[in-house]
Amino acid sequence: MKNARILVVDDEENIRLLFKEELEEEGFEIDLASNGIEALDKLRGGHFDLVVLDIKMPGMDGIQALNEIKNANKNQPVILCSAYGEFKQDLSSWVSDGYVVKSADTRELKQTIKNILGI
């Protein structure tokens, strides 16, 4: 699944750009969304092998988006990505398939993606 389709969701344009360039180098096909609603639209419009979802976003935050995504398709793999290691998730919500702390060093992100995709 070297050319897997990945949807990167982040409200920060330069983060989206960084992740896109870094992940494209790994051979993935990247699409972008700047918030939860846009992400849900894109997911309805086509298939993605993985969603990388920022937690803190205006409008619909990452946790809400995760629940919507999993409600629509519980087999959709999602990685949560946040600036720091703490977020409140109530017990009824869905659990993500992976969790990565945002860092300038993108190796952890890449490795987590590869693990989930089974590469």
């Binding site: 920060e12 983060i15 960084l18 803190k56 600036a83 720091y84 945002k102 860092s103 300038a104």
Partner: protein
Amino acid sequence: MNPVDLLGKIIEISHSNLELSSRITSILNIISRDMNSEEVIIYTFDKDRRLTCRYANQKSVLFKILNQYRCHVGEGIVGSVAQRRSPLFYTMRDIPPRFGCLFYPELDGRLENYKLFAFLPLADDSYLYGVLVLCAASRDTLHDADKIFLSILSREVGGILRSYDLILSSKKRISELATLTELGKVLTSNAEPNELLKHIALIIAKSLNATFVTIMLGYSFLKRDAQRFTYGIIEPSVQDHVEELEEAAARLLRAVSIKDCAPDEYVDSFMYTLFSAPIASKNRVLGTLTICAEKTGQNYALGEDGQYLISTIANYISSGLENTLLNTRLRDTVRELGDAQKRLIEQEKFRSLGEMTASIAHEIKNPLVIIGGFTKRLARQIDIDRTENKYIRIILNEVTRLESILNEVLNYVKETPLVAETCNINDHLDEVLYLLTSDASWEEIEVAKAYDSTLPPVACDSQQLKQVLINILINAHEAMRGRGTITIQTRQSAYESRPFAAISIADTGGGIDPAIIDNVFNPFFTTKERGTGLGLAISNKIIMNHKGHIDVENVAGKGVTFIIYLPAKNHTTKEELL
């Protein structure tokens, strides 16, 4: 001397400043001479209302004999005169045989010398002070004028005795009042209970000339080290009686004396008088006041009415004492409340600071990731040998540093739940030490261990505890610049009477400047060139979350000892901690 001159002389003497006994003796000498009476003797009452021969004219020969005997009112001629309060006059021939008690063996062959005996009560309209006895060898009759004159004289002498009595009792009252005033001053002062009680004991002892005064407080009332406050030294022979009397006074809610506790013969042979009274307020016994004085001592205050006096004093001090004790408690409570409030404000300040810090850190994180991320991409595109690449490395290093600071900050402000388990502190210490000392930089550091092998386990989050230990040990290592001795001790300890396990870690790194010692647990406070100032703040927070605390003992110029106190397991259960 004519009767008027005589009376004048007597009145002059009675109003003089002479001692009581010399005044009376002078008067008796005059009577003896003027009335032609070889013996002029006065009986007065003892404390137990028995008549004793106390005064006589100078030339009296009977005094030495009579003064060995005492009689009750109604007993013998003297007793009979005292009872009837009317004079009796006899010649040797007509003394009734029933008054035989006059004829003590030593008087044999002496009384026969006298022809006339006169017995007069020393009394005014309401009080009787004693009996005046005259024996005359050279006359056998008294004219009516002489009798009237004698009765006037006896009134005068009664008056002298009475005023002396009044002076004595007012002196006593005044000294009681002075004692109470002094006590009042102390009770209304703002003294600490301990000081107050010592002071009270001292005042009472001084004013009553007591051998010792001891105040025992009920245990439930004053949770302090000392429950007994004593002035003087408790006689070992009296010790048992003191406790017995205290118990009786508290139980009966009234003043008791040694007489209430021991048989009469014993009390009579006893060297001391002993009184105990309850210090009670609204029928609640706060404690007891016990006074002991030597019987032979010059203390008229502790005689017959000692019980009355001691209960007066005990009553007097009870309310003041209760006020002081309540005041002290109140003061303690107010101080505790103040401290608690201060802590709350600190916590609140800290919480909002924490929230702000978290949100700032979060906002900074994204730009940092972007800067760092793209710089890394840039680095990959530039030849490794070029100067630009060196600059890029510098940027990346700084980004990495910033990121680790941010992580630490966020780590500090976030609420970390405890994963409590039963921990053996000694094992954890060894584990951490093994980890640290395997590094080469620890080669020149000597670690001295003094573990208490019986240290009970504590309930704690072992990961977090290890983090605390590592923080403190690394600080010690840095303070000593890699060379010195770290002494680690574990022991059982108590804080506010609860069991704690204490871990002390002492270094020889020169100590902390006393001016900044109060800041060491404050977040972002650091003395290191490259530190976040969060290590000890996080450690402190972790230990506080465990319901423990960290103490710092600092010897400037020598070293610092950090002491971690964790509640021992038998006190804080896992549930309590979570």
